[in-house]
């Protein structure tokens, strides 16, 4: 009984090994994906320009607010809201389905599946790297934009930390949901149509089209049960310091709930989907 057990590494040694290799993998994937992404600098800039829609909405609302505040939103409020929103949207962009759909349908998933690391982490590394490259460009852009508008948003260090937390959770929500939608390609020829559906709902209900405060109360109540406002509206509000302590706690908990919910759903879909893999081509 004792003899074979002494050969086995202790729980501590195993934990150490696990942590060590997790770190090594993250570093290796990060490095790899960084060199890979640097090949596509030009594309990133183009994608960022393609994401200018919130700024268009900003100008629409600014012209509406030129006569006076709209539902309590002044000229300055709209600038603060939309410039921060632009940042949040850029930092939570997820394009998983566009990669997973051809991967699954054309069998390009196979080389990734052979490795003892879930493809989830490859995509995750790519997305995080993309954000690391976007961040400095965005900071320069925001400084210029706020400078031009001759105003700066309210700023507090504590708020910044909570904002970064809610921003990360918003990204994880979108990433896990994106992985769920991407996994549908195991069954569907066009999983991308679901992404279009998601994107329309997201644009309307996350606060991009209009600040959620401007929605009728009943609709506001309804969409608060959906994940959308927590992907955009909530982090923006946290940054602008417009929420009470309890609203922040509640919001973060709801974000956590959605992250976990989509994580479970994607695990389930992925496991089911792998049984289907190869049935449609590959």
């Amino acid at each position: 009984m004792l003899a074979p057990q002494t050969k086995k590494p202790s729980a501590f040694a195993r934990l150490y090994q696990h942590l060590y290799w997790s770190l090594r993998k993250s570093l290796a994937l990060g490095r790899f994906s960084f060199s890979l992404t640097l090949n596509y600098q030009a594309e990133i800039i183009i994608w960022m320009i393609a994401g200018l829609f919130p700024l268009v909405m900003m100008f629409v609302w600014l012209s509406l607010a030129s006569e006076g505040p709209v539902a309590g939103y002044s000229h300055q409020d709209f600038i603060n809201y939309y410039l921060i929103l632009f940042f949040v949207r850029q930092m939570t962009v997820v394009w998983l389905v566009w990669e997973m759909d051809p991967e699954i349908r054309l069998g390009r998933l196979s080389p990734l599946l052979l490795k003892p690391l879930s493809p989830y982490w490859w995509h995750f590394a790519n997305h995080v790297t993309d954000k690391v490259i976007r961040l400095p460009i965005l900071l320069v852009f925001l400084t210029l934009a706020f400078g031009l508008a001759r105003q700066f948003p309210p700023f507090e260090v504590l708020n910044l930390f909570i904002f970064l937390l809610s921003l990360s959770l918003a990204f994880l929500m979108r990433f896990n949901l994106g992985f769920c939608i991407g996994s549908l390609a195991f069954w569907l020829h066009q999983a991308t149509s679901f992404e279009h559906l998601f994107f329309s709902l997201y644009t309307v209900f996350s606060g991009v089209l209009a600040p959620i405060d401007l929605f009728p109360p009943l609709l506001r109540q309804l969409i608060s049960f959906s994940p959308f406002p927590y992907m955009i509206n909530f982090p923006v509000k946290v940054f602008l310091g417009e929420l009470s302590f309890w609203q922040i706690v509640q919001g973060l908990l709801i974000q956590l709930f959605w992250v976990g919910f989509f994580a479970l759903l994607k695990t389930w879909l992925w496991r089911k989907g792998l049984r289907h893999y190869g049935a449609v081509g590959a």
Binding site: A28, L29, S35, L36, P111, L113, L114, Y277, A279
Partner: protein
């Protein structure tokens, strides 16, 4: 090392005919077709064996290899590779196998091959010292010291294949599935890859299953072959024995000094079957056991400049095997229906 029993794979295919009307119909009501790509096959492969896996396009080779590598979920049957059930896709299983597909690549197109190697090192959890040792070995065996630092898109097909092999073997798998590893390579590079596979097998006692369209790969590497056709195994056994059974002849290539006339050809036909006659070259199949005597007689009776004796090409043997087996199988199917 590999145990397969009653393994089947049924694909569900969404059936749709060409044309707009058919598309609309298919939209309203989906029709599925079921295709049995692999039909209850069984075999066992011992550790250290190299087995050639042959069959025509769509016979079920790749489907079988993908099931063995844990990529495809089997429809029915028992499956065990290196002590694991592949479809569970445990980490320890994935670390003990590899699948190299000649037509699919794992190396990243835009980066140097070493960059992909380094990621594999981390993913397969290979300690630094061991990684350096193995890389040095692979670099030496494959002669890729310089090439691997180049961007993959700039490599020739042969260089890329060698780097693919290195990337697939850094974790020193016990079981190798090679699907058309030499496809598209020139004869020289085919030889290099073949030699490498042989070497790897001898050095590490690895179990290897390989498919190839080039019979030379199979004849050079595998003592045993498994032939699959329309999802069924139609031969499993010794390659030499198969050749003996299906091709009990040797092929003689004669270079004659003067063109042969009708009469001479008829005379020649007494010795064996004339396969081809072109100018001064004649090909003749004669029974294996009579080769020595026949050659002596031929040299006596004909003006022969040169003579070469070889086995009948494996392609021809396979052709014979399919001809012998397939009609028999059809009868079997109709009987069981």
């Amino acid at each position: 090392m590999i145990h397969v029993k009653g393994l089947s794979k049924v694909y569900q295919i969404h059936k749709k005919e060409a044309g707009l009307l058919a598309s609309l119909k298919a939209f309203a009501k989906r029709h599925y077709e079921y295709i049995e790509a692999v039909k209850s096959i069984s075999f066992d492969i011992a550790q250290g064996e190299i087995v050639g896996f042959l069959g025509s396009n769509g016979a079920g080779k790749t489907t079988t290899l993908k099931m063995l590598a844990g990529l495809l979920y089997p429809s029915t049957g028992e499956l065990e590779v290196a002590g694991f059930q592949p479809q569970k896709r445990q980490k320890a299983f994935l670390k003990s196998i590899t699948l190299v597909m000649g037509q699919k690549q794992q190396l990243s197109w835009d980066l140097a091959a070493v960059d992909s190697f380094l990621v594999n090192q981390a993913i397969y959890e290979i300690p630094d010292k061991l990684y350096q040792e193995r890389l040095a070995e692979l670099v030496e065996m494959l002669a890729i010291g310089k090439v691997m630092k180049q961007q993959v898109r700039k490599m020739s097909l042969g260089e890329r294949m060698k780097c693919e092999l290195a990337a697939a073997l850094l974790h020193q798998p016990k079981v190798l599935f090679l699907d058309e590893p030499t496809i598209g390579l020139d004869v020289n590079m085919q030889e290099v890859v073949r030699h490498f596979v042989q070497n790897y097998n001898e050095r590490y006692g690895a179990t290897i299953m390989l498919t190839s369209h080039y019979m030379a790969d199979v004849t050079a590497l595998a003592k045993r072959i498994i032939v699959i056709e329309q999802g069924n195994i139609i031969f499993d056994g010794n390659l030499a024995k198969l050749i003996e059974e299906k091709a009990p002849q040797k092929r003689l290539k004669l270079q004659v000094e003067h063109p042969l006339d009708e009469q001479a050809l008829q005379h020649l036909a007494h010795y064996g079957k004339v396969i081809e006659q072109q100018g001064l070259e004649v090909q003749l199949d004669i029974p294996r056991d009579k080769v020595a005597g026949m050659v002596a007689k031929l040299l006596q009776n004909f003006a022969i400049a040169d003579i070469a004796i070889s086995d009948i090409p494996l392609e021809a043997v396979m052709g014979q095997l399919f001809k012998d087996t397939l009609p028999a199988k059809d009868e079997h199917v109709s009987a069981s229906n």
